[in-house]
Structure formats: C-alpha cells, structure tokens
Amino acid sequence: MASFLTRTRGKGRLHWTDWASYAYLLLGVFIMFAPVLWLVVSSFKTEAELQHYPPRLLPYIQKTITLPGHDEPLPVFKVTRGELAGQEVAQVRRIGLVSQVVRPEDPQTIVKVSISDRAPVERVALATTNYSKLFARFNFPRFFWNSLFITVVATAITLLVNAMAAFALSKYEFRGRGTVMALVIGTLMIPQTVVLVPLFLVVREFGMINSLWGVIIPGAATPTGVFLLRQYMLTIPDEILDAARMDNASEWKIFWRIILPLSAPALAVLAILSIMWRWNDFLWPLIALSRSENYTLQLALNSFQGEFTTDWASLLAMTVLTLAPIAAVFAFLQKYIATGIASTGGK
C-alpha cells in the first residue's frame, strides 16, 4: 500500500510529471478542504471578528477586563497617540468618533481618546460561546434529535423496504418482473420538484404534515436503492438459496439470514447514501414541517438567516455541528464501499 501510494515515475528522484501530479492533487485537496477549514475556523470567531475587514485567518478575541464600578467586562485598547500613548486602557463607551476610556489603575476617571488613536488588544482564542449559545439560546438538542430520528429511522426503513423489493426482483421469476423493474428505474427520470405538490396533498390526507413520519415515509423506497441492491443480489448464486430451501428455511428466513448478510457491502453503500440524503435533506422537510419544534438541523440553520439580520456566529457553529456526524459516519462506513464482493463460498 505504501509503495503504491509513493510510487513515482522518476526513479530515485521526481520526474516533472510527478511534480505535476502532486501539484494537481494538492490543488484538489485545497479546493476540497479549504472551505471546510475556513468554516470551522470561522465558527470560533466572535460576531465582531466575523465582521472584521479585511478578514483574518485566525480567530482573535479582544482582551477584556473587569473593573470595580463597572458591571460588564470592558474591552481593552492600547492607546497609540497622545498623552496616554503606550498604555492599556479599558473602554467604557464610545460616542461617535470619541471613545471614553479609563485606566485600570483609576477606573473612575474617564479620559476621552479619539478612536483613531487606539488599537484593540487582541489575542488568538476560540470563541466557544458560539457553541454554548446554541444550547442556551436555541433548542439545539431538539433539532439534533429530530434530524437524528429522521435519518436513522428513514435509513432503516429504506434498507428494509428496498432490500425486500430487490430480493423479489432479483431472485423470483414472475410475469412482469422486467416491467416492474423498468417502472422503478423510470421513476428516476421524474424530478422531485414535479411530484412535490401531489406528494404534499397525499401526505396531508394521511395527516402526516408536521410530523416527522411525514418526512420519513414518502422517501422510504428509492429507485436508486432498489436498483443498486438488485444488481448486487443478482451476483449471489441461486444454488445458495436452493441449499437454504433444502435446509428447511422459509423464504423470509432466506431473506433475513442469507440474502441480507451477503448483501452487506451493497447495503452499506445504500446506508451511506441514505444517511447523507436524509441528513442534508432540506426541501421536503421545509414543506412538511412548519412548527419549529419539529425542525431538523437544516431547517434550523435556515431560520438563522433572517430578513434583516443574520446570526452568523450561531449559523457557522451549528453548521459545524451539523457536518460533524455525517463526516463521522462517512469515515466509519467508507471502508465498506471499497470492500469488494463477498466470497460466495462457491468454486
């Protein structure tokens, strides 16, 4: 593996094509990861730092100081000109272009300094309040639970329903099997937006609007999933099924004990796809869920963007928290995608 990854065209030293390859790959890494890193770093910036122009790479926090006679911690500045030049002062308030500051040794005496004559005292630090605020001010656990519930339950139902359909379509001979398969594949050509309104009407008739089940049920059977699993199940030898039948296994048992375990690699792929679809789904939950206690994370993120103001700090922090689980799932399951065909136990 290591020798494969470090293989080069030039022997001993790098050929120019090696340089080009590495440059190209590094560019790819940069394009892929830079926005994510920028997001993570920015999520630890204060609202003030986010508004800072020009933007700075690292999160800075202005030093604050608590002085007697002042309830709030005061931001600390360094005076650059005038009689206090070189001293650190705490700003009490700012009026227009004039900043009213006090010296820490003498917190009661207000000195007026032009705002152009002072610079904030800053240090690199993480504004973790962005995250704690999510839990204190917003019902983050609730949104997270909604998203988690929808993703887990919907994925479980998707796997079960699609595997059963794929089993029938791959291992049973019946009239119209080809037609059914063609219809399933055919639905791939209908954009979701086209069926949005009819789907809404149906779901409303079932009384599932504003219920998490209204999000879970409509998308449970996916043509992609049926097709993917069917193609995989076709590779499972029929003789194994016959052997199970000779072994007194019911068809349900064959499905449960033979087909499902042997389809594990394909099921893992579908599970990853389904988790990503469900976790990132926005349009349908937006239509089906209108009460905020039912919001998923994606809907909650959207609600941070108001008509007039956007709470960027909270938005970024929640975006990071939204990304983290899906990244973890992907890291855990990605080896199954690469895992080849299971040994069939045959010749």
Partner: protein, 358 residues
C-alpha cells in the same frame, strides 16, 4: 419396496419438454447414478425429485407416499450442490447447524449430530472456519456434512465432484462410496462422467434428451446395452460401431467383411440394416480379418490402444493387453471376438439381443 419411485414424471417449460416421462424405481439403500451428456435433463430430474423444481406431470413417491405437493424440506431429502453452495458468511459449524435449527431440533442434538458428522468426514478442526478459508476438497466435505447432519431419507448429489481436480476427485469418489456403505441411505448421484457412474453406482440410469435410455446395474449396462446410445456412452474408450446388413445369418459389414453371429442370440431378419458394435477389447490384431489403418498408438505400459480407421473410414479403437509393437501408419488385420458382438437395428438403434426388452 421402492424407496423412491418416479411415475411418468414430466417437465415442460412452455411448449418445450425437458423431461419427457421418466419411470424409475430406486430401492431403499441403493446408490443410483443419473448419467448422460450435458443437457440431457439429469440435473433437472434431480431437482424435480428434490422439490426445487415443480413437476409438470406424473408422480414422485418417496417411501410409497406421493410428495408432488411437498416443499423441498418436507420431503426429507438433502442435497449436495455442484458449487457446494455453502453459506459464505457462516462458519462451518453454522453451515451444518442451519438446517437443524430451522427444524427446531434441540441444541444438544444439533451438537451431537454435528460432532458425529464432523468425525465421519474428518472436518472437526475446520468447524470454526469460514468456507472461503477452506480448500475445494474441504468445502466438498462440509457440503456433504451439511447433508449428513440432516439424516435424510435420500441423499441427492448434483455433480458434486466436477469442481475438483482429478486426483481429489478419485479420492472423494471413494469417500462418498464409503459414506454410502457406512450410513446405508438411498443416494441419487448425478454426473456426466461415466467412469464415476460405473465405479460408484449400484444402479445407473442413462438419460438422453429427457428420456430414460436404460436403467440397470453398471455391468448389465456394459454387457447388454439396450441401444446404440447406451452402448456408446458406457465404457471407455467407447464401443466401435460398424454399419452392415444381415446376410444369411451373418453380418456383412460395409467394409465387405463377414462376421458370423452366435445362433439364437439376436433377432435378425434377413436383409435387415444393422449396426454391429464391438468394444475395443473384443478386437485384437490377427493374421487375417478386418483391415485397420493405424493412425496413432497409445502405450500405457500395462496396456495399449490402437486408433485408426477401417477401409470404409469407420473409426476403430483396439485394446491390446501388454505392450504392442504396432507403429502408426501400419495396416494390420483384426480378429473379432464373436462372443463380444452387439447388434443394433440401424433404423431404431435398439439392441437386437433377444434377452433385452427395452
């Protein structure tokens, strides 16, 4: 008392008949081999007996009871598949216990049966391995073990040795025969290899195009084939056939040679077109007789085979005991052992022997 009986069993896919009415009766404890060229329907017939393939017409009886309507497991049979069909995700032990668990056998009994079967097949050390970690021969044993633990009334084998190399095949052949002697169950074994059929079977059923050509003990089939097909299929190298015509109680071959026939053995009308069959060991080099142009010689040490053509182009194989001095290109006369002669109707291919009713 027949343990397994087929009565007019037919199978059709649409208008296409695959099995065209087979009658067969296998006694309890017999080792019966279905043999025939590929596509003759032998595997289909086995699957019909197993219940995996529905039957279009006729009856299958096991122990006197019609089982047409029963599912595969309810027939009390066990099958060993060509590709072994082990469950790849289960250990050997789980492979063996799966069927018993499905029949809700008590745990202790499952354990006991697995232990017995594993000892019998010498796979005790493999019980916790998975099929992909086993060699072909070991997988074969596990597949047989999976059938043995079920303690079925009838064992079905569907070309179980065709995936093994030649040496292992001979070994497993002996092992299956020993297994049969040891547990004494009825076994049905499908193969396209007539050597396997001859060496293992108590009874052989020769099938062609979905029809039973002949059913009987191996040596009966060898000594008294009912028709040209069986005569050509059983025995290796295959029987030599010469076209001819009955002429004054003897056979005048197309080559012009005349072969006298043992009296009363054949139903041969004067002038009838016939095919004379004789096995390679019924021919031997002699001073005069049928001319053979030798094309090639196989010297195996203990025996030799001459391959060549008669003057009319008929291919001929001759078996010689010991080592022969005949060289390719030689033109030698052959003598026929008239006691070894078989006679078939040229039109129907049926044997003309009086003691065979086919």
């Amino acid at each position: 008392m027949a343990d397994l009986e087929l009565r007019g069993v037919r199978k059709a896919y649409g208008a296409f008949d695959v099995i065209k009415g087979v009658d067969l009766s296998i006694a309890e404890g017999e080792f019966c081999v279905f043999v025939g060229p590929s596509g003759c329907g032998k595997s289909t017939l086995l699957r019909m007996i197993s219940g995996l393939e529905p039957i279009t017409g006729g009856e299958v009886r096991i122990g006197g009871e019609v089982v047409n309507h029963l599912g595969p497991a309810e027939r009390g049979l066990a099958m060993v598949f060509q590709s072994y069909a082990l469950y790849p995700h289960m250990t050997v032990r789980q492979n063996l216990s799966f069927g018993l668990e499905n029949m809700r056998a008590p745990k202790a009994e499952i354990e006991a049966r697995i232990t017995t079967a594993a000892q019998m097949l010498q796979i005790e050390k493999l019980l916790d391995r998975r099929p992909k970690d086993l060699s072909g021969g070991q997988r074969q044993r596990v597949a047989i073990g999976r059938a043995v633990v079920r303690e079925p009334r009838v064992f079905l084998f569907d070309e179980p040795l065709s995936n093994l190399d030649a040496e292992l095949r001979v070994e497993m052949r002996g092992e299956i025969s020993r297994l049969h002697r040891r547990i004494g169950n009825t076994m049905i074994y499908v193969t396209h290899d007539q050597v396997e059929a001859m060496t293992m079977a108590d009874k052989i059923a020769v099938l062609r195009d979905g029809q039973l050509e002949q059913f009987g003990r191996p040596l009966d089939l060898y000594n008294a084939p009912a028709n040209l097909f069986v005569a050509g299929f059983i025995g290796s190298p295959r029987m030599n056939f010469f076209p001819g015509r009955i002429d004054r109680g003897a056979v005048r071959l197309a080559t012009g040679d005349v072969v006298a026939l043992p009296a009363l053995r054949f139903e041969a009308d004067e002038g009838k077109e016939v095919t004379l069959g004789i096995r390679p060991n019924g021919l031997r080099p002699a001073d005069s007789g049928l001319r053979l142009t030798v094309a090639s010689v196989e010297r195996l040490g203990g025996e030799s085979y001459l391959y060549g053509n008669a003057p009319d182009g008929t291919p001929v194989t001759v078996h010689c005991a010991g080592q022969t001095t005949v060289e390719p290109g030689a033109d030698i006369p052959l003598a026929l052992d008239t006691g070894e002669v078989h006679l078939f109707s040229a039109k129907s291919g049926r044997s003309l022997r009086k003691d065979i009713r086919s």
